[in-house]
């Protein structure tokens, strides 16, 4: 074949949906939201990106692709791989990152037959929009809230944001599977979210380590260093709206803890009443009983653990020797 570089498919990425698991309405909805998000990113990039930075989009996409191929050894013979959504968002800015991740997913689908074609919309939405925007937002938030010296707060924020982006995207993925009625929500959410809370640790750790490497070598290359304080321009509002829309469509119908309200909501959306509340009623979790409580507890514990881990990572990796030379010269 005319494959320029042979690679094993992204089987490592448990969020990369193949075809056959989403139904028509979910595929259409997710593709629609994804297209809107990519369209918004294109508009933002067209307006704000200097021509000098245009080739970086293509090189950035090639970079993400190459980075995804490297092995992060885990245990025994298994190894994990970077997804890179949050990393590239920090390095190039969220708008460019959305385009980059979309291109990576397109190439994986159309050049390597990796990831579904109908599911491309959902994959772009999960890994290109939710992962990137959610992770980036959390990164900027943490970086501005926790001032520990510029490099340290960047690494901490990046590590947690990498974890968060992964988990958030997996929740949306679970929602898509549930909306398609392929996997009931009470199974999809714990399965996806819990697995990705663990996988996300690796992603977060890798993101933090890589960002630290870049900051130590050439901090001026990191786009976020040049960006002003986090402000809510039209882009941010647009992405926020799209993600909230996704929440409303893919997550809210299932996550609502009140079955009556759930049915009412579902009726308003036009979904058949039985399909929503039935799965919740039929499944019980050991020890905790209600699946909702179990998930909530797992979620809270996982988040706390990730937060602490990210903080510890930053403290360990970036020793405080007074403000570093880079902090001083950056004029923070």
């Amino acid at each position: 074949m005319l494959l320029s570089c042979e690679r094993e498919p992204a089987g490592h990425n448990k969020m990369h949906l193949p075809d056959g698991f989403l139904d028509a309405k979910t595929a259409l909805l997710s593709s629609g939201v994804a297209a809107a998000g990519v369209g918004l990113a294109l508009r933002q990039v067209g307006a704000s990106l200097e021509p000098r930075r245009m080739p970086m989009l293509g090189l950035g996409a090639a970079f993400v692709f190459a980075a995804q191929m490297l092995n992060f050894p885990i245990a025994g013979g298994t190894s994990g791989h970077l997804v890179g959504g949050v990393l590239i968002a920090i390095l190039l800015g969220p708008n460019a990152a959305i385009l980059v991740m979309t291109c990576v997913l397109m190439v994986q689908c159309l050049m390597f037959a990796d990831g579904g074609l109908m599911a491309l919309g959902a994959n772009v939405f999960n890994m290109g929009l939710v992962n990137v925007c959610g992770g980036y937002f959390v990164f900027r938030l943490l970086q501005s809230v926790f001032r520990m010296g510029q490099q340290r707060s960047a690494v901490f924020a990046a590590a947690f944001a990498g974890w968060f982006g992964t988990v958030l995207a997996s929740i949306f993925c679970a929602g898509e599977l549930a909306l398609s009625n392929t996997v009931p929500w009470s199974i999809a959410l714990p399965a996806m979210a819990n697995v990705h809370m663990i996988i996300g640790l690796g992603e977060g750790l890798a993101t933090g380590l890589i960002l630290l490497a870049v900051l130590r070598a050439r901090p001026e290359l990191v786009a976020v260093q040049q960006a002003p304080r986090l402000r809510f321009g039209s882009g941010a509002i647009g992405y926020g709206l799209l993600i909230c829309l996704g929440l409303a469509v893919f997550v809210a119908p299932f996550a609502c803890p009140w079955p009556d309200g759930l049915e009412a909501f579902g009726r308003r959306l036009g979904l058949p009443a039985r399909s929503i509340s039935a799965p919740l009623a039929d499944y019980h979790f050991p020890l905790v009983g209600s699946p909702i409580a179990a998930t909530a507890i797992a979620g809270a514990v996982g988040t706390l653990l990730a937060f602490v881990a990210a903080y510890a990572l930053a403290r360990v990796l970036v020793p405080i020797l007074g403000p570093s030379k880079k902090d001083a010269s950056a004029g923070h």
């Binding site: 498919p9 089987g11 080739p55 090639a62 579904g116 996997v183 890589i210 490497a213 290359l221």
Partner: protein, 188 residues
């Protein structure tokens, strides 16, 4: 098949995948339609059997992974089987598409369909420099490996992170030089 217009192949793939994905959730005779089409197309496209099977096998690990979750659905087994078959058929369709259609042609077709130019140029540059960056990564990995004397995971993670970081720096520098080279030949 290789000579057919890329537009036709793309549209055919989309139609086939859509049809297959929207088949009912239990195995019916309708499943035979895409199955037969694909099994006939396989030799027509001259895709090697071993190659196809190998790629399907790798995709399998992953289809089954998500597929297992469907076993917990009220309808369980039929859903699991139908999802499995559907997924495999779709993967096969995409394999045939990528086998017969070089990505270059896909890009040209997308351009004819008025795909956004920023995306097209990003995709084009990405494909041009994927092997270049891949080669740089291989060189850096080999160089690191030749100076790594510990098999601890911590060290491996640090090494990989350093390599990826260095790859980004090199890519950014290269992007800058590419911009200059494009300007030198009149790009505005």
């Amino acid at each position: 098949m290789h000579q057919a217009a890329p537009g036709i192949k793309l549209v055919a793939a989309v139609l086939l995948v859509t049809f297959t994905a929207l088949l009912p959730r239990h195995l019916t005779w309708l499943y035979l339609v895409p199955t037969v089409i694909l099994l006939v197309l396989w030799p027509v496209c001259r895709m090697p059997i071993i190659y196809g099977l190998r790629r399907l096998l790798v995709a399998e690990l992953f289809i089954v992974g998500i597929g297992l979750l469907t076993l917990l659905h009220p309808t369980a087994a039929p859903l699991f089987l139908s999802a499995l078959v559907k997924s495999n058929l779709c993967v096969l369709a995409m394999l045939l598409l990528t086998w017969t259609t070089p990505f270059q042609q896909v890009l040209q077709q997308l351009r004819r369909w008025y795909f956004p130019t920023v995306m097209l140029s990003t995709l084009a540059l990405m494909c041009r420099y994927m092997p270049v960056l891949g080669e740089e990564t291989r060189r850096m990995t080999r160089a690191r490996a030749s100076r790594t004397f510990s098999s601890k995971r911590v060290v491996s993670w640090q090494n990989v992170a350093l390599i990826i970081g260095q790859l980004f720096v090199r890519s950014a520098d290269r992007a800058e030089r590419i911009y200059l080279a494009m300007c030198a030949r009149g790009w505005k």
